[in-house]
């Protein structure tokens, strides 16, 4: 019944752009085209119930779209908010001391208003470097084993462990570091090299961090290896290359950009890790000279001093500057690795 009414209405209203036709067709989900027929749409809705429901549904769809757009934009803008907020709060310290001075001075005397970040930057670099040196070869070999060598059965057993390891919270890694790594270094490793070490050292931080970034590196590199076409491997094998030769000359070479991306991502993760390194690094504000020296990475500095932050002038600004420093470096590293990875993905899709 309604249909026939609609049809006759349509015949009478022969507008050239056919807007009313769209308004009557409930199977058209595209909301933007609805703009073409506001007047006639309203006219029909007065005596057509179906039409009313349809318009309501479209309105709901549009409203939700707007709301979602706002949420999306705001949540992406968090990135900008963080940058601006941290910068705004580090302006006072940047006014007092120049950027170069802040980064290269090693005098850290908050009570005298002297903030030199050099020891903390070096602490971070030492810990990060050690963790990468330990983790990268191990993870590379593990990922190669998982993708190239392991039988399916072992693969199935192995992959959950990587996920389980990635689920363990940082503070547990810290506890493990204190309970296991520190005594290990103190009693078994350090005595071979230096006279005395408490165990709380950049080496301990590096080892704990290395274990923390295992899952990240393994999962990314495994993904990258999977994107390499099987044909390439088959071609190499059919020419008489051994499996290792194929792996080295085909798989690894092809996967190099992906490995670099994983490396960069792992560095940025190690850079920002806080509580685990805070617990095992010894937190001595001096530049470490050997792996058995204690260090004081930037995130540990921020976390350790939040209590005094408000009582000493400029201290809060200095800590916010440290956070800004971390944020900027990690942001850059992340963007670099994500661009490389998304390029790889696109290449695979093409």
């Amino acid at each position: 019944m309604i249909d026939t009414v609609n049809k006759s209405e349509h015949k009478r209203d022969s507008s050239p752009e056919g807007g009313s036709k769209h308004g009557l067709n409930p199977t058209q989900p595209v909301a933007d085209k609805d703009k073409q027929a506001p007047a006639s749409g309203f006219f029909y809705s007065l005596f057509n119930g179906k039409q009313k429901i349809y318009r309501f549904r479209l309105l709901k769809d549009k409203l939700i779209a707007k709301l979602m757009l706002v949420l999306t934009v705001v949540s992406v803008l968090i990135l900008a908010f963080i940058g601006v907020g941290l910068y705004y709060h580090s302006i006072p310290i940047l006014h007092k001391q120049s950027l170069v001075q802040l980064l290269t001075s090693s005098v850290w005397k908050p009570l005298k208003g002297l903030f030199g970040f050099y020891p903390f930057i070096m602490g971070t670099l030492w810990v990060t470097a050690i963790s990468i040196i330990i983790a990268l070869p191990l993870c590379l070999l593990t990922a190669l084993y998982i993708t190239e060598y392991a039988p399916l059965r072992i693969k199935r057993i192995l992959s959950p462990f990587v996920n389980l390891l990635s689920g363990i919270p940082p503070v547990i890694f810290g506890v493990w570091g204190v309970l296991f790594i520190i005594p290990l270094i103190q009693d078994h490793i350090a005595p071979h090299f230096v006279e005395f070490s408490t165990g709380y050292s950049v080496l301990a931080g590096g080892i704990v961090l290395a274990v923390m970034i295992f899952p990240l590196i393994v999962s990314i590199i495994t993904e990258v290896f999977r994107t390499i076409p099987q044909d390439l491997r088959d071609a190499s094998l059919s020419l008489g290359a051994t499996r290792w030769e194929t792996t080295r000359k085909v798989v690894l070479r092809k996967a190099l950009p992906g490995i670099i991306a994983a490396l960069v991502l792992a560095i940025s993760r190690a850079f920002g890790e806080t509580i685990a390194v805070l617990m095992v690094c010894g937190n001595n504000a001096a530049v470490p000279h050997s792996v058995f020296d204690p260090g004081y990475p930037l995130p540990a500095l921020i976390a350790n001093n939040y209590g005094d932050m408000m009582s000493i002038p400029l201290y809060d600004s200095a800590l916010m500057f440290a956070a800004l420093l971390l944020f900027v470096i990690i942001l850059l590293f992340n963007i670099i690795s994500r661009v490389i990875l998304s390029r790889l993905e696109r290449k695979l899709a093409a």
Binding site: T27, A31, L79, V162, I168, V171, V175, R243, I330, L331
Partner: protein, 281 residues
């Protein structure tokens, strides 16, 4: 020829050793925590709040921290879902999910995911200063929400992308609006939704650096949003830095509690992922 065979064997051996080390590190960590934590574990630990003199070795438990952590992680996950479900739907259903803009958005969330929690903590602290809040349950929840949004968005996005486009096309061709299609898709990805929730909950409950500035610490179970709240990881950290042996031991037991909770969450999320990809290889 012999050299090549040897090389092959050598590297295979190296790979197996590396794999054992990487997978074994998990057992090493969990084993250490259990070995040290179990002797100090008792029922009081998880059923009582700290009594007087708890921090010099007298009786009490860490119920305050357990409840505080559950409040913060639960609140943050719910708030995070309210924001990230619309975002994931918007990227995939309202925008064409394959365009440059959509991929850029994804990358932005990946980058947000990479921002360390200490930076979220510092930023959360700035927000609190701006609004004149003190360290409280509310502040902690806000900071952790910021932390889990990227995790939720990216997980949901991955899950929504696995929904076959035929399903969407079919609902659209039957006359549904995009929002109605989104509801169909949301029903379809329910196991994936649980995975996202568990992942974010697991991350939220274990994170220290973001709640350090924002949630504060208290020996009581918080009764309002403006009261400071203890969190489990922070309780572990404080107990471990105590010189009293008994308190340190409780720290190990607290670590054991957190490890068990997180392992259960991770295993559950694995199960849900398996369930979700059951029809795939």
């Amino acid at each position: 020829m012999k050299r090549r065979k040897f090389e092959e064997l050598f590297f295979r051996l190296l790979m197996v050793l590396a794999t054992i080390l990487v997978a074994g590190s998990f057992f090493l960590i969990v084993g250490t925590i259990f070995y040290k934590g179990v002797p100090y574990m008792n029922l009081d630990m998880i059923t009582k709040t700290p009594g007087g003199g708890f921090y010099i070795g007298k009786e009490g438990g860490i119920l305050n921290a357990i409840v505080g952590s559950l409040y913060i992680a639960g609140g943050a996950t719910i708030l995070g879902l309210l924001i990230s479900i619309p975002v994931a739907i918007f990227i995939n259903m309202y925008m064409d999910g394959k365009t440059f803009l959509a991929n850029t958005l994804r990358m932005a969330f990946d980058v947000l995911f990479g921002i360390p929690s200490i930076v979220y903590g510092a930023f959360g602290f700035l927000i609190m200063v701006y609004f004149g809040l003190r360290a409280s349950l509310l502040g902690g929840t806000i900071a952790v929400t910021l932390l889990v949004i990227p995790i939720l968005v990216r997980t949901l996005d991955e899950v929504i992308r696995t929904v076959p486009s035929e399903l969407r096309d079919a609902t659209l061709s039957l006359g549904s609006t995009r929002w109605e299609t989104a509801k169909v898709v949301l029903r379809q990805i329910r196991p994936g939704l649980f995975t996202a929730i568990l992942l974010s909950f697991g991350r939220a409950i274990g994170d220290v650096a973001s709640v350090l500035f924002t949630a504060g610490f208290s020996d009581n179970i918080p009764t309002s949003l403006h009261e400071p709240a203890a969190t489990l990881p922070l309780a572990i950290f404080f107990q471990l830095s105590s010189p009293v042996e008994e308190v340190q031991g409780r720290g190990y037991a607290s670590a054991l509690v957190l490890t068990i909770v997180v392992l259960i969450i991770t295993v559950l999320s694995e199960v849900f992922i398996k369930k979700f990809f059951k029809h795939k290889i």
